[in-house]
């Protein structure tokens, strides 16, 4: 039989008649105890030895205990001093006895507190008596200390008086230590194996380059690892969970034929709102949630002819039967800069031809970019959020096309029961809020807003075919997918790194 060298050594050193502890074996064969224990367990597994565990208690003196063993217990020294001044005849003053005992500091208190307890005499009203019949040589505490100081290892605590030991431990003169002791005993199979002959095999902890170059690996036995044990933690670099969701959305949209848009975050109200046929006195435009800029205040240039057409649509509407708004129009307000409240400003820039030139149908465009709302922050609202914005331009588009497109999109995220609730937006008609069932909670939740762009919006932009569009907050989708309940966990400087480190990957 070939075994790794430590196992051979342990097997040979073990006895069939009496268990031997791993530390004695370790000393005998010159290995460390952990190696011996490992080898013993391997042999136990193979049935060649029995390993038994028991707890062994040892006792050792503390520094204080050692000092008393040398100089005598303070109460004994006090008693001897008391005898010296004749306190067994007449009560002696405490000062006199203490002076004679040469005890000082804390030892005086210790001596006094144990003196009467152990029957050496009494202490009353500053006077001390000694009991002549007491015998310091019979002091069990002192004797135990003396025994321990001579050779603690040779003393088995079982042989000591448990009460005395407890008392000494309370006095912090001794310490008890528990130790697991493993003992190894040869089994019959082990004896048989030894008789048949056991030889050491070459084993190695690690595969090395030299083993490979020399070919020594062929003769090598590799030590087995505990492959079930936890390894030290390492930290992986990783993309942000919200970014993973955004990438997933982008993949889906690109797969559906959408091109990505790009444009300014700080933009003129003209692109953000006027081009969307939003009247200038619309509550959303004067509302406090708009992020107006103080610096810079106005855009330099707007395409003049486009501004004129948009203004006309606001005043007169579009088409023969169109009406406009009875709302004020101020070009200065059109030029006012703000952080875009929705990324539909990108759509107006693209549809107008201003961003990438005139677009001919068919087209599909999207973006997954930031929009800004001057809102109060809570677990579902942030000042900044990623808006998924998409639109389709074609000669003819119906509500059914819109429903088909969004049904397809949401199905990619496991939302298969899309509901279209008729809605109102100033820039789309018909308009729909999109509702879907939360895959986990089963609640019906709003997951987007959509519609077919109005003629009053498209005419001034120079688009004479149909365009349908929709938007939703990426964070809402992300919360759906990740189950996050607080949007602030996902996004911003308040983030908890552990949340990001433990977030499940999205793909």
């Amino acid at each position: 039989m070939r075994l790794p060298p430590p196992q051979v050594a342990v097997l040979e050193a073990a006895s069939a008649s009496e268990p031997r502890t791993t530390d004695t074996l370790a000393e005998e064969i010159g290995e460390d105890e952990a190696t011996v224990a490992g080898a013993a367990f391997a042999l136990d597994e193979a049935g060649l030895v029995d390993v038994t565990d028991r707890t062994e208690t040892s006792v050792s003196l503390t520094d204080e205990g050692r000092a008393y063993a040398d100089e005598g217990l303070p109460e004994v020294r006090l008693y001897e001093a008391a005898l010296g001044v004749g306190a067994d005849e007449e009560p002696a003053s405490m000062g006199e006895v203490i002076g004679a005992s040469s005890l000082d500091g804390g030892l005086v208190d210790i001596a006094l507190s144990n003196y009467a307890r152990k029957g050496y005499g009494s202490v009353e009203r500053g006077e001390l008596r000694a009991d002549r019949s007491a015998d310091p040589d019979e002091d069990s505490e002192a004797r135990t200390l003396a025994e321990l100081v001579s050779d603690a290892d040779a003393v088995d605590p079982v042989d000591l008086d448990a009460d005395v030991l407890d008392q000494l431990e309370r006095r912090q003169l001794v310490e008890r230590h528990d130790r697991a002791v493993r003992a190894v005993r040869l089994t019959d199979d082990g004896v048989t194996a030894l008789m048949e002959g056991v030889e050491p095999a070459e084993t190695a902890d690690r595969l090395t380059s030299s083993m490979l170059t020399s070919g020594a690996w062929r003769e090598t036995e590799f030590a087995e690892y505990n492959v079930a044990a936890d390894a030290p933690e390492i930290r992986a670099g990783r993309a942000h969970v919200l970014r993973q969701v955004a990438d997933r959305v982008t993949d889906v949209l690109v797969g559906m034929g959408f091109q990505e848009m790009e444009g300014p975050h700080v933009d003129a109200d003209f692109w953000i709102n006027d081009c969307l046929f939003m009247p200038q006195d619309h509550p959303a435009r004067t509302h406090w949630d708009r992020f107006a800029l103080e610096s810079p205040e106005r855009i330099d240039d707007l395409p003049e002819d486009l501004v004129e057409r948009v203004e006309r649509a606001h005043h007169d509407g579009a088409g023969e039967y169109g009406d406009g708004y009875n709302a004020p129009w101020d070009e200065d307000f059109s030029r006012a800069l703000a952080l875009r409240g929705h990324t539909t400003s990108l759509s107006t820039r693209y549809l107008s031809g201003y961003q990438v030139g005139e677009l001919e149908p068919p087209q599909r465009y999207f973006s997954v970019e930031k929009a800004y709302r001057n809102d109060s922050i809570d677990n579902t609202h942030l000042l900044e959020f990623f808006q998924i914005e998409g639109w389709v331009m074609a000669e003819e588009l119906s509500v059914r096309d819109l429903m088909g497109t969004f049904t397809e999109f949401y199905e990619q995220f496991g939302i298969t029961d899309l509901e279209f609730k008729p809605h109102y937006n100033p820039y789309t008609e018909p308009s729909f809020e999109l509702f879907g069932t939360h895959p986990e909670t089963g609640d019906l939740i709003e997951i987007g807003n959509s519609g077919i762009f109005r003629q009053e919006m498209l005419d001034p932009l120079g688009v004479d075919c149909d365009v349908m569009a929709w938007g939703l907050a990426l964070e809402r989708l992300a919360m759906l997918i990740t189950g996050a309940e607080d949007i602030r966990d996902l996004h911003g400087t308040l983030v908890d790194l552990d949340f990001l480190r433990n977030a499940e990957v999205i793909y």
């Binding site: 034929g257 990505e260 003819e396 609730k421 400087t493």
Partner: protein, 578 residues
């Protein structure tokens, strides 16, 4: 979105459908786009809806829509109106900022507590929406019996008329007792002392004179602020005078139409009022005599093709007419199109497409079969976004944990706490685009670099295990006169390495790896940057252009962020790796 309260008992009474239980009503209302949000203490539904159908701001208007939905009513309904008895005379003194007025009389109205509450609610909701918080239009409703206006007039055919006068007055003009007050106050005192006056004082603060309405007894209304107590409406009122003033005649006329329909539903007979603008009055109607309310219908032509095209289904002309009538409209088929008659409360209809929407709602949009459009296009990412993705992959490969931080930041976080002065020439030192009237010092500007955001994440995570190797690719911006918007925006790549033995070399090694990955030439000549430790800071020069900074964060900046271990960092423009 606006909300409106409607008691289910009232809806049952007004629709004549006592058989509808609360659940059915809730579901019928949802189908109209009125979402049940909860109930008031006395059991009224709180309903939220999109702000287009403002005629549904009253329980009467909601009931009307339900009656069409139930088929109890069909087609256009216009209340009958009696000839005018009263006149509103518009004086040249009326402030030019608020030149317009309109009005109507409602007689025999049945005002119980519920009806009065509904009227008050309609008034408030119209103020908040069409009235643009009373700036564009404000409503005053008065008990007609309290008005004294009878006097001789040469203009009237029978030699007598009843009139009230819309005039402009000085702040210390005539006193009157406003609602919710015991004392006589001048208009100026109302603005200073009366709670409602203080609330709306800003609307009239720039007016050259204050608007006021008089009858023969004196001032009884101070629009758009408050009415007088003398003409206050109560459940005992049977005849009402409704006046509205504003900055736009059409808007107040439309608001008036909605109010008249609601009063008609409460059994009132609407009586017209003549509005006589003096020739010297300001505004577009000087010298005109208007008869109000204008309950005339509008007409728009919508083609059959447009309906079928938008809904994506085939319909017979009979079906279209039926759907129009179920929407409270009338449709007359003519030449592959329909002349559609629109009642005056439908102020939301601006375009034939709005009628197509009505047809679709009546048909039931959720009855339509979705279909994927048969349109072929080629998809793709923007070049910038592809580059960003590639850099992110490289950073993740280098062991960075990506963060996504806000683009908005406080001035202190962006500049001061980093030791950087706004307007200095260093990376991050640009002048920031600034938000007007920010609510919080934490979000005042658009960040000029991303490193401060990463430092804040480190600051907030000192209880988490190290190393913390964080990166972000995100927006940064600063003022730039050469840009059309006045703001230069770019994507920036920022990274920090925080651990007990972080050194300059650790940052440089990773930056080198990035440069090599993207095939660009990297140089790091020494520089001065106040965020970094002297002698351990360098310019990031890529292909000869200075694009960023790298170094060990200055201990002062670390201490400012409560960090007790070294941090090394770099930041540079994303487009440098193109």
């Amino acid at each position: 979105m606006p909300t409106v309260e409607a008691h289910p008992d009232e809806l049952r009474t007004l629709t004549g459908r006592e058989d509808k239980d609360d659940d059915e009503l809730r579901s019928d209302l949802f189908a109209l786009g009125l979402e049940y949000e909860g109930e008031t203490d006395d059991g009224a539904f709180e309903l939220e809806f999109a702000p287009d159908r403002l005629d549904r701001l009253s329980v009467e208007g909601i009931a009307r829509s339900l009656r069409y939905q139930y088929g109890e009513d069909r087609g256009v309904y216009v209340p009958r109106t009696n000839d005018p008895d009263w006149t509103i005379e518009v004086d040249p003194s009326v402030p030019s900022d608020r030149p317009y007025v309109t009005g109507a009389v409602a007689r025999g109205v049945d005002l119980d507590d519920d009806a009065l509450d509904s009227l008050i609610q309609l008034q408030e909701k119209l103020h908040a929406t069409m009235g643009r918080r009373r700036v564009k239009g404000a409503i005053g409703i008065h008990d007609l019996t309290m008005l004294k206006g009878e006097r001789l007039s040469e203009a009237a055919a029978d030699g007598r008329t009843k009139s009230i006068r819309y005039v402009g007055v000085e702040t210390d003009g005539d006193r009157f007792v406003p609602l919710d007050s015991e004392r006589e106050l001048t208009p100026g005192e109302v603005l200073e002392q009366h709670p409602t006056g203080r609330e709306y004082a800003d609307i009239v603060s720039a007016y050259e004179r204050l608007p006021a309405i008089y009858d023969d007894i004196g001032l009884f209304s101070f629009p758009p602020v408050i009415n007088g107590r003398r003409t206050e409406v109560s459940t005992d009122s049977r005849d009402l005078f409704v006046e509205m003033t504003g900055t736009d005649q059409r808007t107040i006329d439309e608001m008036l139409a909605i109010v008249c329909y609601a009063l008609d539903a409460r059994g009132a007979t609407i009586e017209k009022v003549t509005v006589e603008y003096a020739s010297g009055a300001s505004g577009a109607h000087a010298g005109d005599s208007l008869v109000r309310p204008d309950l005339s219908t509008d007409e728009k032509r919508v083609t059959h093709e447009q309906i079928e095209r938008t809904l994506g289904i085939d319909l017979t002309p009979e079906a279209v007419v039926d759907l129009l009538e179920r929407s409270g409209l009338d449709g007359e088929p003519t030449d592959d199109a329909y002349d559609v008659m629109i009642p005056p409360y439908r102020v939301d209809v601006l375009h034939p497409q709005d009628l197509v929407d009505d047809v679709g709602r009546a048909y039931g949009f959720n009855e339509l079969e979705p279909r994927y459009p048969d349109v072929g296009t080629v998809g793709g990412r923007h070049e910038r976004s592809r580059l960003e993705g590639a850099v992110r992959n490289a950073l993740v490969g280098l062991g960075f944990e990506e963060t996504m931080n806000f683009h908005l930041i406080g001035r202190a976080d962006n500049h001061d706490r980093m030791g950087v002065e706004s307007g200095s020439e260093v990376v991050g030192g640009g002048e920031a685009a600034t938000i007007a009237e920010p609510y919080s010092e934490e979000y005042e500007i658009v960040r000029t670099w991303a490193l401060p955001s990463l430092m804040m994440v480190l600051e907030g995570n000192t209880h988490r295990s190290y190393p913390q190797n964080l990166a972000e690719i995100g927006l940064a911006a600063h003022l730039d006169d050469d840009e059309n918007t006045g703001v230069a925006e770019w994507r920036t790549v920022a990274a920090v390495l925080a651990r007990h033995d972080a050194s300059y070399e650790d940052a440089k090694a990773r930056l080198q790896a990035l440069a090599r990955t993207f095939g660009v030439e990297l140089e790091t000549p020494p520089t001065d940057h106040p965020t970094f430790l002297n002698g351990r800071e360098a310019e990031v020069v890529i292909d000869g252009d200075s694009v960023g900074v790298i170094g060990e964060i200055h201990p002062e900046v670390l201490a400012e962020h409560d960090l007790e271990l070294p941090v090394v960092a770099f930041e540079f423009r994303l487009d440098a790796l193109r």
